[in-house]
Every structure is written in structure tokens, then in C-alpha cells.
């Protein structure tokens, strides 16, 4: 090595270069890295969601049949692009950006179904008054509906592919097309790679007009990679 160095570096040179290099590297590197990685550093994703916090309409609950789930689409308005919220706060009179973007979520609604010991579906807890009326529910009827309704996100708990309802040998199940995760009609995990049950919406309300409304919040659990109370929903 030594004979390759025409101009040998002394110890103090080396330390000097090291010090200057560190300072310059930090001056260039830290701001740009922090700039790029700011969503990791400061965005508290659950307390500062970009999704509009209001109720979104799903659909009339009386349309959900007795023995199979029904599919609905919801559109959650999202006021993202950074800055919108801050600009509105500082200049309330400024025109709000009208760039509308919605996150489309698909929802499966089904009635809670009891299963016998061998896993076959048994009693379906569909309120019987739904046969006669589809709106104008009383408070107790609304409570009964909310108690017995499964509100499931169609996003598979494994990698987020959309699950679909298939009927195999006379019995229905939610099947994920990607890796074959299987859930029963309540969204309970049955087989395949998913680490948990299907995601369900935790904030929901049935109104007097007979329609269901939800907020963009799911039952998250600790310890599931990517999905916990600290981490974002990719659903």
C-alpha cells in the first residue's frame, strides 16, 4: 500500500479530513434524509388521518339477505396533499382546494351467524322485523340491528387482496384470490395465511332511514405487521 501513496497522509491530516468530512456529510445528508423520511419521523397517522372524519353512507341494511353477505362500496373523501389543512388554518378565507380524491372501500355486510361445533353455519341472527319494513326503525330495533350486523372490509388481512364470497359444496365462505385465505360469514379466520380475522369497521350507526353509516376506522390489533394502533391502514 505504502508505495502507492505518492503523498502520504499524516495522522493529523487524516483526522482533519475526517472531521471536515463528517461536518460536510452531516450538513448535506441530514437535511435531505430528514426531508425524505419525514412521514416516518413525525406523521402520527392515526391521530392525523387524511381521510375525512365524517360518516359515510354504506347502504340500506334491509337489503342484506339471510344466508349470504352483500357487497357495498363506500367512498371516503380524502383531503390530502400536504399543506391543505395548514393553509386552511392560517388563511381561513383562502379557497379550499377542490381537488376531490376519494378512497374507495368495499364492504361486506352480513348477519352474525352461529356455527356448530363442526363449523357448519347454524342460526342466523337476522332481525325478523326487517321482512316488513326497511326504514323508520325505532331505537330498540336499531340497537338490535347494530348488535347483529357484521361490517367487514373486503381487504384480506394477509396482503390486502379483495376477498370474494364463493359457495363450495353448498356452504359459502370468503375466499381471497391471492393466497387462498378463507374466512367464514362472520369474517372469522378459517384457513390460509392471514394472521387474523377480516377487518371490521368499529364506528358504525344505523339511522332511521334504514341505512348504515360508517367511519374509516378498523379493529386493529397489536403485533400484526404493518397494521397496529401505531401504523397506517393499507386497506
Amino acid at each position: 500500500m505504502t508505495e502507492l501513496q505518492k503523498d502520504p497522509i499524516t495522522r493529523s491530516d487524516f483526522l482533519g479530513f475526517g472531521l471536515i468530512g463528517t461536518i460536510m456529510g452531516a450538513a448535506i445528508g441530514i437535511p435531505s434524509a430528514a426531508f425524505i423520511f419525514s412521514p416516518i419521523i413525525k406523521t402520527n397517522v392515526l391521530k392525523q388521518s387524511d381521510i375525512s372524519p365524517g360518516w359515510q353512507e354504506v347502504g340500506p341494511v334491509s337489503e342484506v339477505p339471510k344466508d349470504e353477505p352483500k357487497f357495498f362500496e363506500i367512498e371516503f373523501p380524502i383531503d390530502q396533499t400536504y399543506g391543505d389543512r395548514e393553509v386552511q388554518k392560517q388563511f381561513p378565507e383562502a379557497q379550499k382546494s377542490d381537488r376531490g380524491f376519494v378512497v374507495k372501500n368495499a364492504v361486506w355486510l352480513s348477519w352474525k351467524t352461529d356455527h356448530d361445533d363442526s363449523g357448519h353455519p347454524g342460526k342466523v341472527n337476522r332481525p325478523s322485523f326487517l321482512d316488513d319494513k326497511s326504514e323508520g326503525f325505532s331505537q330498540s330495533e336499531i340497537e338490535e340491528i347494530q348488535k347483529n350486523l357484521n361490517i367487514l372490509s373486503n381487504s384480506c388481512a394477509h396482503l390486502g387482496c379483495p376477498v370474494r364470497w364463493v359457495i363450495i359444496e353448498g356452504e359459502g365462505e370468503f375466499l381471497c384470490p391471492c393466497h387462498g385465505g378463507i374466512y367464514d360469514i362472520n369474517g372469522t379466520y378459517v384457513a390460509g395465511p392471514p394472521p387474523r380475522d377480516m377487518y371490521s369497521y368499529v364506528k358504525s350507526e344505523v339511522r332511521e332511514n334504514g341505512k348504515l353509516y360508517v367511519k374509516h376506522e378498523y379493529d386493529t390489533k397489536e403485533g400484526i405487521p404493518g397494521i397496529s394502533t401505531q401504523e397506517p391502514y393499507v386497506v
Binding site: 425524505i36 423520511f37 412521514p39 416516518i40 406523521t43 397517522v45 392515526l46 392525523q48 388521518s49 387524511d50 381521510i51 380524502i78 390530502q80 396533499t81 400536504y82 381537488r99 376531490g100 380524491f101 378512497v103 394477509h158 396482503l159 390486502g160 387482496c161 379483495p162 391471492c178 405487521p225 404493518g226 397494521i227 397496529s228 401505531q230 401504523e231 397506517p232 391502514y233 393499507v234
Partner: protein, 275 residues
């Protein structure tokens, strides 16, 4: 008349080429970069690296062209791709080339790697070129992943969701990875901006110097398996084997002198006994 013009043109060309060569050395550089002796057998296999380079160049060129119409916002991304595909002159061609050469790029990279692997082209002194090649492969995969979302159609959107969820399963850093890619709490405008920045600036800027290093190292050591290298290596190997053989005989001769038989023959064990 025509002959005279032709000879004059040739003369002017020669003067120009000489002038350039004298000032930039471009002619020898071009020769150095373009021509490489390779064995006649399996000569097409040596074009896989060039094919990769060609496809990446196509990506750069068509990508620059697509930027003239593509708009990286959630409300216009799909529409601008639609405009490129249906309204802009030759839009189908330009985007088609970008799309198909991206697909073929990964296939050709696979073939290129296989060729280098099975021919042993990664061996000394070319190990670092293999390492640089793997970095290039990872960068190309990153480009393919980020480019998929930019279309902002159902296909690209959900494929990206699945890709990000796979990333979220990485040990220790899973949550950070997904926060970095999302830039928010759902796949939304911020995600599109980040993927656009990665796809159009960060990764191409990262890939360019590595391509340069890859080519420099290639030219420094030459294509593996050139005729010259084979003959030289073989003769070196034979020479070495010969020397080892001699050294062994000489050692044995020192151990037990004069045990040769009348014909100058020794059995292989060299212990002097006849078989």
C-alpha cells in the same frame, strides 16, 4: 466527376476524423468501447448485456417523452395516461415501448445473470462487477414497482397495495417502510407524489452511475471468455500443472535417489518398487 467528388468527400472526412481524434481521442475510445474479441461459439450470448443496456436506454428516452404529458396527481394521473394513449400523436407507441421494454428488461436481466452465472463470469477479478450488477437489478426492481402505481388504474393501485403490505412484513423496519412509501395513512395523493419522485428522479439518478461503473469494470477486465483469455488461462494452467509435477518429482528424487529402473521408469507412488 462522381469519382472526384467521392474522393474529395473521403478526404474531408479523413481530415475531420483526424482532427477530432487528435483533440478528443474519440475514435480510439469508440473502438475501445465497441469492439471486443469473443469466441465464435455461443457468440449471441455475449449480446445479453448490450440488450439490457439498450432496453434501459429506451426506458430513459421514452420516460422523458412521457413526462411531457403525464401529470402526477390523483385526479389527473389516469386521465393523462388516457390522453397519451388516445390523443397524443404516437402516444400508444411511446408508452407501449416504455411498458414493453420494462417487461422485457427484467426478462433480459434474468438471462444476462444466468449467462454470467453459468459461464462463471463472476469469478476473480470480476466479483465486484457482479455485485454492482446485483445493485442494478435491485434498482430496476424498484423502478418497476414504483412505475406500476403511476398509472393510477385498478391494476397498478392494488398491486402496489399488495407490494407495500409485503414490505410491511419486513422484520423490524416494516412499519417504517410502509410509512415511507405511503407518506400518509392511505394510498393517496402523497403516495403518488412519492412514487413519482422515486420513479422519475431518485432511482434513475441512482442507476446511472452504477451503469457507468458496470461498463467501466467490464472494459477494464474485458468480456469473460474471450478467446485470448481462454488460451492464456489454459496455457497458464498447463504450465502450473507441469511445474507442480516437476516439483513433486524433484522432492521425491531428493528423498530417495537412484531408485529408477533401467528404463528410467518409475511407478506413480515414487517409492521405487516395481508394480
Amino acid at each position: 466527376m462522381i469519382g472526384r467528388v467521392r474522393s474529395q468527400v473521403t478526404e474531408v472526412n479523413k481530415v475531420l476524423v483526424d482532427w477530432m481524434e487528435h483533440r478528443t481521442g474519440i475514435v480510439t475510445a469508440t473502438e475501445h468501447f465497441l469492439y471486443e474479441p469473443v469466441p465464435k461459439r455461443g457468440v449471441w450470448l455475449y449480446t445479453l448485456g448490450s440488450a439490457t443496456l439498450f432496453l434501459i436506454s429506451l426506458q430513459f428516452l421514452t420516460g422523458i417523452l412521457l413526462l411531457f404529458y403525464y401529470v402526477p396527481t390523483t385526479d389527473h394521473a389516469w386521465n393523462s395516461v388516457y390522453y397519451i394513449m388516445n390523443e397524443a400523436y404516437f402516444g400508444t407507441l411511446i408508452r407501449g415501448i416504455h411498458y414493453w421494454s420494462a417487461n422485457f428488461l427484467l426478462a433480459v436481466i434474468g438471462l444476462h445473470m444466468a449467462q454470467v452465472f453459468f459461464s462463471g463470469g463472476y469469478k476473480a477479478p470480476r466479483e465486484l462487477n457482479w455485485v454492482v450488477g446485483v445493485v442494478l437489478l435491485l434498482l430496476v426492481i424498484g423502478l418497476a414497482f414504483t412505475g406500476y402505481l403511476l398509472r393510477w388504474d385498478q391494476d397498478g393501485f392494488w398491486a402496489s397495495v399488495v407490494g407495500m403490505k409485503i414490505g410491511s412484513y419486513s422484520p423490524l423496519v416494516g412499519g417504517y417502510v410502509i410509512n415511507f412509501l405511503l407518506g400518509g395513512d392511505v394510498v393517496g395523493p402523497a403516495t403518488l407524489s412519492r412514487f413519482f419522485a422515486l420513479h422519475v428522479w431518485l432511482l434513475p439518478a441512482a442507476i446511472a452511475p452504477f451503469i457507468g461503473i458496470h461498463l467501466y469494470l467490464l472494459r477494464r477486465h474485458g468480456v469473460f471468455g474471450s478467446e485470448f483469455e481462454y488460451t492464456e488461462r489454459l496455457s497458464k494452467l498447463h504450465e502450473q500443472q507441469r511445474l507442480e509435477e516437476y516439483a513433486r518429482y524433484e522432492l521425491e528424487d531428493e528423498d530417495d535417489e537412484g531408485y529408477e529402473d533401467g528404463n528410467g521408469y518409475r511407478n506413480r507412488d515414487g517409492n521405487g518398487y516395481r508394480e
